[in-house]
């Protein structure tokens, strides 16, 4: 497929405003200081709403472009003009980035509005909105960049915003630690991405999408595979995929709107965007794509299994996010058949997962920030709107027929089977199994939270949240219900993305779609039934039972993911730092201090020659003169 980007003109040339508006908002909020405390949240919401309006206008304008001209690029300024390295800052607006800017500004605006209520009692609400604006700006730059370097700037920008927001309550040690963990694990991925950029520059002399994709076919197969795997490493870090998944559940220490926007709907999908955007590279490497699918499969199973064992409502949702992004990776790794499907799931997931997080936030808001589901129960009657919107999100997530998740997840499982061969069966079977597990853990969550006998703390007075919070939840729940149907039947996403990914290949079905659909629905129903049988029919103990099977123990310990990281990386790392500190203290410092002491001692001894007596000075001069003269004579005559 020939990639052609046309220069932007007219309204399309104002895409840079999308990035600048929230950035300005962040700057004003941060520099304005406490004076803006009273109106900070209004500024934050206004900028994002304005951005959303602009995004809608831009996408409408892009849709109005004739076929074949639906990708416009706009070079803003020269960023790094050094020798052969010429990096321009430029934006690319095409159907793919259009989808993302709508998602980011749309969901972003809703969550901003929700945060007005959720953060209402926080004295640092202005700072919160500043960081959120910063995040939106960085995320938009990430998806709008016309080259890997611009993407990387946004990539690091969202990493920074994520770090700042996870540690928003930085006085809590857990939040500070979680932020550090997120930052460090992301660095691992970022190194992969930046090395990929270096390789592009070294082999192709450019880092812009147009040049890289045009030149990729001329690269050696090994180079393309290396590029793909390095990009995958970056994507794994940002999207919380195995083996770099451990930071994402911990990131729930941040305020819940942050979890909804950054750690569910947008930022964590940046990895999917990166791979989808790099489709022309991945198309050239079967190996890289296979690794992507395996990473996706392992992650989606991992997240689903661990999600079954946790009692913290946000952690369950977080593992669910890990798992759902695993689905997206699986799809995107399947190549041309899967790109559009992955983006479809990304969008529907953006709606229902953001809605679920906002619902969880609403529950916490009413329950004194309690997150332990064992202390919930029977909240359905106290929080009607939260309950209904949450339930719709839940149904969408488990893939209840004709809700959003049904369309997107079914398609992924279908495409996985269609990839053929033994691998196809493994991928499809695993994805279907995980759908059942998803149904199980989500039903468990629903039951423990909204049904059954109340197990509240004594001082809990559950109440419905204010309208400023419930309205965004309602809108997102509508999206959870209808987005799938609309994006498949009304405005087909596949057709819209065709200019980016090329025409979808003719499907060669291994298993008939209808069979997949029915089977999946059956598996989901089994999951729901199992949860009903194991959770709803029994009394939920307030303390988690101790005598449980090894499987549950392993799942509670997130399948020893943290333990693995700690024993394989953290402890040896600590030993290494301790050894280096020892070497530094004893060896380096010892040498330096010894040298200094030696010099000082020499100085002290030499100083004694400075007696203050003229006679000894004169003697030293005479000695010096003798030495000089002798040396001269020696040089000449010996």
């Amino acid at each position: 497929m020939e990639t052609q980007y046309l220069p932007a003109s007219g309204l399309l040339g104002s895409a840079w405003l999308l990035v600048v508006i929230p950035l300005l908002g962040a700057a004003v909020l941060l520099l304005g200081g406490r004076r803006l405390d009273k109106i900070g949240h209004l500024i934050g919401c206004a900028t994002i709403l304005l951005d959303f309006v602009l995004a809608v206008a831009l996408v409408a304008a892009l849709a109005g472009q004739p076929d074949g001209e639906k990708a416009v690029t706009d070079t803003l300024f020269s960023f790094i003009p050094v020798g052969e390295l010429q990096v321009d800052i430029g934006l690319l607006l095409d159907p793919l980035s259009a989808v993302f800017i709508l998602l980011i500004t749309g969901v972003g605006a809703l969550i901003h509005i929700y945060s007005v209520g959720y953060m209402g009692h926080d004295p640092d609400r202005r700072r919160f909105f500043a960081y959120m604006n910063l995040f939106v700006a960085a995320m938009l730059l990430l998806v709008l960049g016309n080259g890997y370097v611009v993407l990387y700037i946004g990539w690091e920008g969202v990493g920074l915003a994520s770090y700042l927001l996870i540690a928003f309550w930085y006085r809590r040690p857990a939040a500070a630690t979680a932020a550090k963990k997120a930052f460090i694990m992301n660095r691992v991925g970022d190194v992969g991405l930046i090395i990929a950029v270096f390789i592009m520059f070294a082999t192709l002399g450019s880092t812009s999408f147009a040049d890289v994709f045009a030149g990729a076919s001329g690269l050696a197969a090994g180079t393309v595979t290396a590029l793909g795997l390095l990009l995958l490493l970056g994507a794994c870090g940002k999207s919380g995929q195995v083996p770099l998944q451990a930071w994402l559940p911990d990131a729930m220490e941040g305020p819940t709107p942050v979890s909804a926007l950054i750690h569910a709907a947008t930022m964590v999908t940046a990895g999917v965007y990166l791979i989808a955007r790099s489709a022309p590279l991945f198309d050239l490497s079967e190996t890289a794509r296979t690794v992507v699918t395996i990473v996706g499969l392992v992650t989606l199973l991992y997240g689903a299994i661990v999600g079954c064992a946790y009692d913290d409502i946000k952690k369950v949702l977080a593992y669910s996010t890990v798992s759902q992004i695993g689905y997206m990776f699986l799809a995107v790794g399947l190549g041309p058949a899967g790109y559009a499907v992955a983006i479809l799931h990304l969008l529907t997931h953006g709606f229902f997962k953001a809605g679920l997080f906002l619902g969880a936030g609403s529950v916490m808001h009413g329950m004194n920030d309690e997150v332990d589901m064992r202390k919930f129960g029977g909240l359905g009657s106290k929080m009607r709107i939260t309950y209904i919107t949450f339930a719709l999100g839940y149904l969408a997530l488990i893939g209840f027929p004709f809700l959003s998740g049904y369309y997107s997840k079914d398609l992924i499982i279908e495409v996985a089977f269609d990839s053929g061969g033994a691998l196809g069966w493994i991928l499809g079977g695993g994805a279907m199994l995980a759908a059942g597990l998803t149904a199980f853990y989500m039903t468990r969550l629903m039951v423990m939270t909204f049904f059954g006998r109340p197990r509240w703390d004594k001082d809990a007075h559950p109440h419905e949240s204010p309208a400023v919070m419930t309205v965004p939840m309602i809108i997102l729940s509508l999206g959870s219900v209808f987005a799938g149907f609309i994006l498949v039947n009304v405005f087909p996403l596949g057709a819209w993305l065709e200019p980016v990914f090329g025409p979808e290949p003719e499907a060669d079905h291994v298993v008939a779609p209808i069979v997949v659909s029915i089977l999946t629905t059956v598996v989901v129903a089994l999951g729901v039934a199992a949860a009903w049988f194991f959770v709803a029919r029994r009394e939920v103990p307030i303390r988690p039972p101790v005598n449980v099977s090894p499987v549950i123990k392993a799942a509670r310990a997130n399948l020893y993911g943290d333990a693995f990281n700690e024993s394989v990386f953290m402890r040896p790392g600590q030993w290494l730092t301790r050894a280096m500190v020892y070497v530094d203290n004893r060896g380096v410092d010892g040498a330096v201090n010894g040298l200094a002491a030696g010099l000082g001692g020499t100085s002290g001894r030499l100083r004694r020659t400075q007696t203050g007596f003229v006679r000894s000075y004169a003697l030293s001069m005479l000695g010096g003169a003798l030495v000089v003269t002798m040396a001269f004579l020696a040089v000449r005559f010996v």
Binding site: A596, L599, G600, T602, S603, G604, L606, R607, T609, Q610, G612, V614, S616, Y617, A618, S620, M621, G623, G624, A625, V627, V628, T629, A631, F632, L633, V635, R636, F637
Partner: protein
């Protein structure tokens, strides 16, 4: 019968030296005839007029390249650059001499140097607002002598100039108002050792005359070229001449006088010695080695090479254990003399001709300006006994007087050779010249010595900023106009020559011409 017609003298070319010496002579007359209440102002004005006039004359004369007064004095780029440098640094030192606001008795100089220390008359005069205004003509004589020293193309003239610059310095070293005994001791030491060094110089001169039959540097070079420069007379004479000059420049192992004299002398005089004497002595060294003994480079080069090492190492290492700011700056000057010799080594071949010379000229200028500034700050920090020069007194100075501490930090960083200060540019220039000339081992040692020396500069910075202030700490005087001008000029120069040194580097490059 030899032709005895009088040599032609280019008065224009000699104008810078003549102006300063004329101001000095006039100063003596004023001392004799002007009424006492006028003397101070007139002397200050005259001394400044002399030095600034000399600087103006240098600018006007610039571009000449000739030998005048029967080849005895050179008027060339190097001579004029050095004369200008000495005149400028001299003018700054004179301004420090003229400071009235810092000492309660209105001067750093004693009221009557002839009175025995501690006598009743001395005690009576201790707080009296009088001082010996002879210091101004004496300083002018010294500055004139220095300018001639750097320009002389004849060993006898060089010797005369050496004495003209030295004798007044011996005197004014002993004229401190505070700590008079220390000051007088330093004067006597300087005088005795200086005479000793002059004797070496004179003996060397005699031997060289015996070898070549001439005291003219050009003729010495020619006779050395003729006879292969391996005569014992020649070699010994050269060695003794170098010893005499190394003494004046305060280069180890002939440095022993430096700390004692720098510490004892009144600080404005120390500034004059540390800056101007060093410039003059290096001017003479450059001229002697490059003009008189340029063809016998391989005789003196190994020696200068090792002496540079000794001086850098001794200055840097001994500086570490000093507890007095003035002594510390003295050892700093010894180390810097070693760095300057690194530039002297880089005589260069045809391709890099003048690189060593021009970089040494530039280094002299930057070092002189920064050093004068450093000593000017020393005059500000005072307690009941005058200047508080013990390091412990400087603890926490930044909290009491942030501006003073900041300015001193700038000078110390300049002396340490940190980038963005003139010290870095100067060091970079001489080291590059030396590396171009293949003397990289010397540069490695110079860098190590710089690192060691940085310790004691930075220690003072740390002391000023990160130590709690001493309880009975010194007060920081508010300088009058003269010292303020000195501080402003030197601080600005330290910064500007670090940030945008190109104009001055080009000037030094153009000036790197030696005739003879």
């Amino acid at each position: 019968m030899p032709d005895l017609s009088a040599p032609s003298i280019s008065y224009v070319g000699l104008a810078p030296v003549l102006i300063v010496l004329a101001a000095a002579c006039l100063g003596v007359l004023i001392e004799a005839f002007a009424p006492r209440h006028l003397r101070w102002n007139v002397q200050v004005a005259l001394a400044l007029l002399g030095t600034v006039g000399a600087l103006v004359a240098v600018v006007l004369v610039a571009g000449r390249n000739e030998l005048t007064a029967a080849r005895a004095v050179a008027v060339d780029g190097t001579a004029l650059f050095l004369e200008g440098t000495i005149a400028a640094l001299g003018a700054l030192s004179i301004l420090m001499f003229a400071e009235r606001a810092l000492d309660p008795a209105k001067s750093a100089f004693v009221a009557s140097a002839a009175l025995p220390v501690g006598s009743s008359a001395d005690r009576k005069l201790a707080a009296a607002p009088y001082s010996q205004t002879e210091v101004f003509p004496l300083a002018s004589f010294a500055i004139g002598g220095m300018m001639l020293f750097a320009a002389s193309n004849n060993l006898l003239v060089m010797f005369v100039a050496l004495e003209v610059l030295s004798l007044p310095l011996y005197l004014i070293c002993g004229m401190a108002r505070r700590r008079r005994l220390l000051s007088q001791e330093s004067a006597v030491k300087y005088f005795l050792l200086g005479s000793f060094a002059s004797a070496f110089f004179l003996y060397g001169l005699a031997l060289i005359y015996g070898f070549s039959g001439s005291v003219d540097l050009g003729e010495i070079r020619e006779s050395a070229a003729r006879s292969g420069s391996s005569d014992a007379l020649f070699v010994t004479g050269l060695a003794l001449l170098i010893v005499g000059l190394l003494f004046k420049a305060g280069i180890a192992p002939f440095h022993a006088w430096t700390p004692d004299v720098y510490q004892g002398a009144p600080t404005p005089v120390t500034a004059l010695m540390a800056a101007c004497t060093k410039v003059a002595a290096f001017g003479a060294i450059l001229r002697l080695l490059y003009v008189g003994f340029g063809t016998s480079e391989w005789t003196w080069r190994p020696l200068i090479y090792s002496i540079a090492i000794v001086s850098m190492v001794v200055g840097a290492i001994l500086g570490i254990t000093q507890t007095d700011v003035k002594r510390m700056l003295a050892y700093s000057s010894i180390a810097h003399a070693g760095f300057l010799l690194v530039g002297v080594i880089a005589l260069g071949d045809a391709a890099t001709a003048g690189r060593g010379l021009s970089s040494t000229l530039f280094y002299l200028l930057t070092y002189g300006l920064t050093t004068v500034g450093g000593f000017a700050v020393v005059t500000l920090v005072r307690d009941g006994d005058g200047e508080a020069t013990h390091l412990s007194k400087w603890a926490g100075l930044a909290s009491r007087s942030p501006l003073t501490a900041a300015v001193m930090t700038l000078f110390l960083l300049g002396l340490a050779g940190l980038p963005l200060t003139s010290g870095f540019t100067g060091k970079f220039a001489v080291f590059r010249a030396a590396i171009d000339d293949g003397a990289w081992p010397l540069v490695v040692i110079a860098l190590l010595a710089s690192a060691i020396a940085a310790f004691f500069y930075l220690r003072l910075v740390v002391l000023m900023y990160f130590s709690p202030p001493a309880e009975d700490g010194p007060t920081v005087g508010v300088p009058g106009l003269p010292t303020t001008i000195v501080l402003a000029v030197t601080a600005a120069a330290t910064l500007i020559l670090g940030l945008a040194p190109n104009a001055v580097l080009d000037l030094a490059e153009q000036a790197a011409v030696l005739v003879g």
